[in-house]
């Protein structure tokens, strides 16, 4: 394992470890003080809201909360794939994996301090600016604060042990620390999710809003869907940021070894991001279904009301993500000798992606002038209107996923020539499976128009299962087919055009923007409620901002986030300069 014992790092560790904890202790004491004040006197009851200068309380909390969430997502996600990569390195004995896992983990040290500081700032702001709602939430969830603080403390212990213990512990001990770090991280996110999901779909309280059952308040209707959705999204987001770091270092590299190493890092980060992106739409769909089931009003606010336009923007962003991810894979094929055979397929894959993207982004109700609406016979176009509903969207996203998978399959095969006797049959079977999957997914999509909504929603399950099963079976066939394959040439890591690295930046920024957008949707759908149907928002900000305003706030937040990320990349780059005896061996 790489040796990274540096006095400067130790100092940074003390800072990184101490600063967040100090903030956290301050925040915890503030919470307890606020709770005590609420029980003890009428002072806090008199003040329901305070005003934040210039931008107002809502925008201030909005920006800080989103920044905290983005850093939190990154800090919780990176250990997940770092652990898996380290484990691969341990099992295979390939030092490059170990080095890569360490490189990913290196990003965590500074990020963790940023996350904790932003979290503490968010706590302060919430208690200062929104004392009424925070008092209420403290009444409901006060007992969850203690395990949260404890887990946070353990997170700090495990994270720094994991990072600074690299190469110093026995590999198995180190892996176990990584595992503990991940479990604690998941615990943290689950507790925090309980607080925010309760605000959307409150449960475990009586008519007057008093707590009846804490577990029910935690396990409210969308708690688990949000947990799952966030876990997957965090991995995707973390992978994309790590890939962006690889791209940054690739572009700044001065030696072929460094370029090769960071090219590989970018590739692995992107692979993680896209692999996690594939099931994400389905997790989101489960979440949406639960919201609709909880309240038709909330469901319509999301999918039929003002917020539905944000989903169109989201569709455009996700379409861009898929396009960029595939683009990166196609450009990457240029560094693989023998992959030229597959270039001719790119245009068909691109056509499929474009068509699915168009369907995915088609709104149900179109923005049209009166004349255009009259010509269409209403706000719904007779042809496009059909593409604007979930049956079409589900079909499009499933085929989009399959197409991306095919791109990866071609990339994977790039320099390999099967030597098994049944290669031709295997290819035919794979083709038949793909064809069947596409036809079946489209059939279910079309069938969805002829059945009631409840059945239609359920049809998404066989669609997803078909796609997942297809990917598993085709991968299995591929693995056996390319066992002992003849290698046509090496993968020339580092020989990538710069535009491929900008595609990685584009993916990371798009992920961050999508995350900001969806975070706003989840929070904003409550509209004028702090806790839906329980506690009204009576502040001056109790209105839904215009889409343009919301988009501007999200954009500014993303810009701030990437400014911070640039600082983190720079700091991490300083650390790695000292220890970048990157012993890169060109991969086969």
């Amino acid at each position: 394992m790489a040796n990274c014992e540096l006095p400067a790092e130790r100092r940074r560790a003390c800072l990184g470890f101490g600063l967040p904890l100090a903030f956290l202790l301050l925040a915890a004491s503030l919470v307890l003080a606020a709770n005590g004040a609420q029980e003890g006197g009428a002072v806090t009851k008199a003040v329901e809201y305070r005003h934040f200068p210039v931008i107002g309380s809502r925008v201030a909390v909005w920006i800080i909360a989103q920044l905290h969430l983005m850093f939190g997502a990154f800090v919780l996600a990176v250990p997940m794939f770092a652990l898996i990569i380290e484990f691969i390195g341990y099992k295979t004995g390939d030092k490059r994996y170990d080095q890569l896992a360490y490189e990913f983990t290196r990003l965590l040290s500074v990020s963790f301090s940023f996350t904790a500081s932003l979290g503490a700032l968010l706590t302060f702001m919430l208690f200062i600016l929104y004392p009424k709602v925070m008092n209420y939430l403290t009444q409901i969830f006060s007992w969850t604060f203690f395990p949260y603080v404890l887990l946070f403390f353990l997170e700090a212990v495990f994270l720094y042990s994991y990072y600074y213990g690299w190469g110093k512990f026995h590999p198995v001990t180190h892996l176990l620390i990584g595992l503990a770090l991940n479990l604690v991280g998941i615990g943290i996110i689950f507790i925090a999710d309980a607080w925010l999901t309760f605000m959307n779909t409150p449960r475990g309280i009586d008519q007057a809003g008093h707590l009846v059952n804490l577990w029910e308040a935690i396990n409210n209707y969308i708690w688990m869907p949000i947990n799952i959705h966030r876990l997957i999204a965090n991995i995707s987001f973390g992978g994309s940021i790590a890939a962006a770091y690889g791209a940054y270092r690739f572009l700044a590299s001065s030696t072929p070894e460094e370029r090769a190493h960071y090219d590989w890092m970018g590739y692995v980060g992107n692979f993680i991001a896209i692999s996690a992106l594939l099931p994400l739409p389905f997790a989101g769909y489960w979440l949406g279904t639960e919201i609709y089931a909880y309240s038709q009003t909330l469901g319509v606010v999301l999918m039929g009301g003002t917020f539905s336009w944000l989903f169109i923007i989201q569709a455009v962003l996700i379409g861009n993500l898929f396009l960029a991810a595939n683009y990166y894979l196609w450009v990457s094929m240029q560094r693989i000798e023998g992959a030229e055979r597959y270039y001719r397929f790119i245009k068909y894959l691109l056509a499929s992606i474009t068509l699915c993207f168009l369907v995915w982004a088609t709104p149900h109700s179109l923005v049209a002038t009166v004349q255009e609406a009259r010509a269409m016979g209403g706000q719904h176009h007779p042809i496009l209107g059909v593409l604007g509903v979930m049956s079409a969207k589900n079909t499009a996203v499933n085929i989009l996923i399959l197409t991306t998978y095919i791109s990866f399959l071609l990339y994977r095969r790039g320099n390999k020539e099967p030597t098994v006797s049944w290669a031709r049959t295997g290819n035919l079977i794979q083709f038949a499976i793909f064809a069947f999957a596409v036809v079946f997914v489209i059939f279910l999509g079309v069938y969805g128009y002829f059945v009631e909504a409840k059945v239609r929603i359920r049809l998404s399950v066989p669609q997803v299962l078909t796609v997942l099963l297809t990917m598993i079976v085709v991968t299995l066939i591929d693995v056996f087919m390319f066992k002992n394959a003849r290698i046509k040439g090496p993968i020339r890591w580092g020989e990538m055009p710069a535009r491929s690295q900008y595609a990685l930046f584009f993916i990371a920024i798009t992920f961050a923007w999508t995350m900001g957008l969806m975070g706003y949707v989840r929070s904003g759908m409550r509209q004028h409620w702090h806790v839906y149907n329980v506690m009204k928002d009576t502040s001056p900000d109790a209105y839904t901002p215009t889409l343009g305003f919301a988009a501007n706030v999200i954009t500014i937040t993303v810009l701030i986030f990437f400014s911070f990320i640039a600082v983190i990349f720079w700091l991490t780059g300083l650390t790695s300069k000292k220890s970048s005896g990157a012993k890169w061996e060109a991969s086969a």
Binding site: N320, T354, V367, V370, K454
Partner: protein
């Protein structure tokens, strides 16, 4: 779709294959073909907003196609450099230099000389319903409310048919003038309204909604729409002033019965 436009486009694209165009030239060809198809190939015509969005996506895809291969990219870049610097291309270059601002000027002229139009709004077609409404003094929870006669469909089909028949009479006495005798939103008065009356035959309207949602819309009409649905000039009356609760549930039964759609069922919480 306009088959003639599609046929001409297909023939042109097929014909160009024989010319063995380079990848660089195929990009503008496909861009133009897509534009022509979206503007002239679909009937009824697509709104300008959606054409812009689609063309944005298509442009991105074509750029990806164009730039994925380093050789194509450098060949294209070389061609552009040659076009701008080689003396052989002076005349075509001059034509491009004149044509580009001329095209921009033409678009500006066309936009400025167009007949005035009402401003464009992204209107919310399905505004979220309130949790509870008051109907003639009675509170109705829209999240929990069900059509009280829907159960008769199985328990007492004859009685159910009576309610549907009653709904039909109510519809043709009150709603047909705007929503039309085919329930497709093309009633006699429809052409005078903006927004146009809802088209119930569209599989993406009432089939997507629970019956309580329809009850709310019929009972409260245009005046009862939430603010987010602005700009709102809906001519839909608040039918609670003219119809009873039973009348409204009956007419809802008729809407689903006539169109053959099923109302959105309530999902169970997991």
């Amino acid at each position: 779709m306009k088959p003639l436009v599609v046929l001409i486009l297909a023939l042109v694209l097929l014909g160009l294959r024989f010319l063995r165009l380079s990848r660089v030239l195929w990009v503008p060809v496909w861009w133009l073909a897509s534009y022509v198809f979206l503007v002239y190939g679909i009937e009824p015509p697509l709104p300008r907003s959606i054409i812009l969005m689609f063309m944005g996506i298509i442009t991105l895809s074509l750029l990806a196609y164009f730039s994925v291969d380093s050789q194509t990219l450098s060949a294209a870049w070389g061609a552009i450099v040659r076009f701008v610097t080689d003396r052989r291309y002076t005349i075509p270059l001059a034509m491009v230099v004149v044509a580009l601002p001329a095209a921009v000027g033409w678009v500006a002229y066309r936009n400025a000389s167009k007949a005035p139009n009402p401003p464009l709004f992204g209107r919310t077609i399905h505004p979220p319903p309130p949790i509870e409404i008051t109907f003639k003094g009675k509170k109705i929870n829209l999240t929990e409310a069900d059509n009280p006669f829907r159960a008769l469909e199985k328990s007492d089909p004859d009685k159910f048919r009576q309610h549907v028949a009653r709904g039909r009479v109510i519809y043709f006495q009150n709603c047909v003038f705007c929503h039309g005798d085919n329930l497709n939103g093309e009633g006699l008065f429809a052409h005078g309204f903006d927004p146009l009356p809802a088209n119930f035959a569209d599989p993406t309207t009432i089939a997507m909604l629970q019956e309580s949602y329809l009850f709310w819309r019929i009972a409260k009409g245009g005046p009862g729409l939430p603010e987010e649905s602005a700009p709102w000039a809906s001519a839909m009356p608040a039918w609670e002033k003219f119809l009873s609760e039973e009348d409204i549930w009956d007419v809802i039964l008729f809407l689903y019965d006539y169109t053959g759609y099923r109302p959105r069922a309530k999902e169970s919480l997991e």
